[in-house]
């Protein structure tokens, strides 16, 4: 596909009333000290003396170093502090400039889901949740927080979800796609039950490093270009585990959003699930419907990093196979592979399609 701005659907065609929903915004603490006010004395000293304890060999940085500025847009650094730590800059560069009516926050870099010390993880989860409200949602009500939980301690995760369930400032629950066990296994079902009770979707976003398994069954990648690729296959594996363990049969109301894994793999994943389910149903009699039926009812996929098919027609076919009602716009601000809502789609969308992808679908998937 020839990539020029001329071929993109111009922003002017967007109906003025349509306020975009962005399903992937990353708020970052200026430093870990931002979290101290939300931690008890005991955990403040733990943060200071021990800090995070995760399953990777280098502390406090990515094991697959990013290409520029630790993976940030080079124009997204405020005068002080890391990219994503300045609400004013986020508003000027993205929220206001692109008429973002609602944004869902994904607070990375706080290592809650990766934390091996589960008690510290639980304290940190509460602190990050309070910090999101104080530093981001209260100053800008367009933003909606995601409940951070310690998923490897499901009881603590459920307690955290229940604590915030009625608070309308939270729109979703964040889970790591790098668990200790596949995410369909019963260990995690109390979390899904709590999500359904709260009426909130479960949202996956790539994290580093997670539960310690290599990022795929072939082992750890060497280069960042490989590491970046792993999220799509990983999401296929997660969707597989949830379908074939019967999660959607058990929790038909559960809503799951896969963020920042792309989406062109969804059709082939679905075909493969259906065909193998037909062949080996006797192993999984608890999976009563075709896998594609669960996926069509329970799952959504965000657009970023925008896939660039060879032709716009191919892109349209991919989205038709997934369903225009299943695809959600996301920017990933302030990360380097940010997608601009005006230009990311190298495809002419009808007003109705645009409304669905940029707003309507997210308003059904999330509590906004």
């Amino acid at each position: 596909m020839t990539l020029t701005l001329d071929s993109a659907a111009p922003a002017a065609s967007t109906p003025a009333k349509l306020a975009t929903v962005d399903c992937d915004l990353h708020p970052t603490p200026r430093s870990p000290n931002d979290l101290l006010p939300f931690l008890s004395q005991r955990w403040q000293s733990h943060l200071r003396d021990y800090g995070s304890h995760i399953r990777q060999g280098i502390s406090g940085q990515e094991i697959h170093p990013r290409m520029d500025g630790r993976g940030m847009r080079l124009d997204a650094f405020p005068e002080t502090g890391p990219a994503g730590s300045d609400l004013g800059l986020m508003q000027r560069q993205h929220l206001d400039a692109n008429d973002i009516g609602a944004g869902t926050l994904i607070a990375l870099g706080t290592s809650v889901s990766d934390e091996r010390n589960l008690d510290y993880g639980a304290a940190l989860a509460r602190a990050v949740n309070q910090w999101q409200l104080a530093a981001w949602v209260e100053p800008d009500p367009r933003l909606h927080a995601g409940i951070i939980v310690t998923q490897e301690d499901p009881a603590a995760a459920v307690a955290e979800i229940d604590y915030w369930a009625a608070d309308p400032r939270f729109s979703h629950i964040m889970l790591s796609p790098k668990p200790i066990e596949p995410l369909g296994r019963r260990r995690y079902w109390p979390i899904y039950e709590a999500a359904c009770r709260a009426g909130l979707p479960v949202v996956f976003h790539p994290v580093i490093p997670g539960g310690g398994h290599p990022s795929s069954g072939i082992g750890w990648p060497t280069f960042y270009i490989q590491d970046h690729y792993t999220s799509g296959p990983l999401y296929q594996n997660i969707a597989m585990s949830m379908v074939f363990e019967g999660v959607f049969e058990k929790f038909p109301e559960l809503k799951v959003v896969f963020v920042e894994g792309g989406f062109t793999w969804v059709p082939h994943m679905t075909w493969r699930f259906d065909r193998q389910w037909e062949r080996m149903r006797s192993e999984v009699p608890h999976v009563k419907k075709k896998p594609s039926e669960y996926l069509r009812q329970n799952t959504w996929f965000t657009t970023q990093p925008m896939e660039e098919c060879r032709t716009p027609g191919q892109l349209r076919e991919i989205i038709e196979w997934i369903g225009f009602d299943r695809v959600l716009y996301s920017s990933d601000y302030p990360h380097w592979d940010y997608d601009d809502p005006k230009y990311a789609f190298k495809l002419r969308l009808s007003d109705e399609e645009r409304q669905m992808i940029f707003s309507g679908n997210a308003r059904r998937a999330y509590r906004l």
Binding site: M67, P177, K178, P179, I180, E181, P182, G184, R185, H213, P214, S215, S216, G217, I218, G219, W220, P221, T222, F223, Y224, I225, Q226, H228, T230, G232, P233, L234, Q236, N237, I238, M240, S241, F244, E245, G262, T264, P267, H268, W271, R272, F273, D274, R275, Q276, W277, R279, M280, E283, V284, P305, E307, E308, C309, R310, E317, I318, W321, W336, D337
Partner: protein, 364 residues
Amino acid sequence: MQLPFAGAIDCDTHPAAPSIKSLLPYMTPYWRTQLVERSLHTVNFTFTSAKPNVPLSRRADWRAPLEEDANIVPTLRQELLDPFQLRFAICNVLHGSIALFHQDMAAAIISAVNDWTRDHLLASDPRLRASILVSPTDPAHAVSEIERLGEDKRFVQILLPVMGELPLGRRIYWPIFEAAQRLQLPICIHAGSLHRMATTGGGWPSHFVEDYIAQSAAFENVLVSLLAEGVFRKFDRLTFVLAESGVSWYPALLWRNDRMWRATRREVPWIERVPHEIINERVRLTLQPFDGPEDAAAMKRLIDHFDSDRVILFSTDYPHAHFDGLNALPDGLSDALIQRIAIDNPAETYTRLALAPQPAGASA
């Protein structure tokens, strides 16, 4: 649908693996004694990724008891070679010995499997061709097997499992690729895991069906590994065949890597061209298990998403249960594409097929 002509080349056939008893004659006195004393002649070294009783692993009408290893080839003729009117079938003997940690024991068994393949498969029917079985855990032994057997033109490729100990692009494996390229043998990366680590990035799935589905995700990652490490650049005449990989994921992988290359080319500057061009030239995928859409219109569009008609190689994946009767081709392929998939692409991939003695009555 069925093959519309005789003479197709089946690029992924699985004869039953021989028993250890059939392999003992090929071993040194030490290993013969060891395997018997350790009672290993009473077990089968069944590769976990290919357990024979799983419904998927053997079609219901392909379950005649073999009784003894001497029946392997007659069964193959009766169930596969004759009814499908194949010109050649490339045998991939999957053997659990490649998952052993004891690398000397593994080497003894792997070499014996290759000897048995030569003497009992290749020698029994001129339509049979085979892969040289090697283990990724011992690249030195792999190289010695390639050099030992590579002059026999009936061996047409090297067989490695997709999930080993490290991603297959890593430089530790390059001696295998160097030897393979030198002897003009493609590398066949086949579905299966040594189970050194979880079969998914999210941990160990509960079910066989999940491990089977997860193969394609492993293949996606292994192809990106070969690309990123510069294997295609370093070994510029080496073809990689991905067997039992599924095929429908291929266009999306190209799109994604084309985009990422523009962004991260600086990290891997040896990738000197847009990835889809390199991969289309150097990678082939076997047809079964076909994982495309059932719907004919969608099928046609998926085929259009492939940028090339050179990528897919016909396979039955015999005796796996992917289709009924003789319907080894999915519906919706054009005659021209069937010709490419079933005959031309395999012949171009496996140039050795023309070099060894030909089956009687077969015309070029």
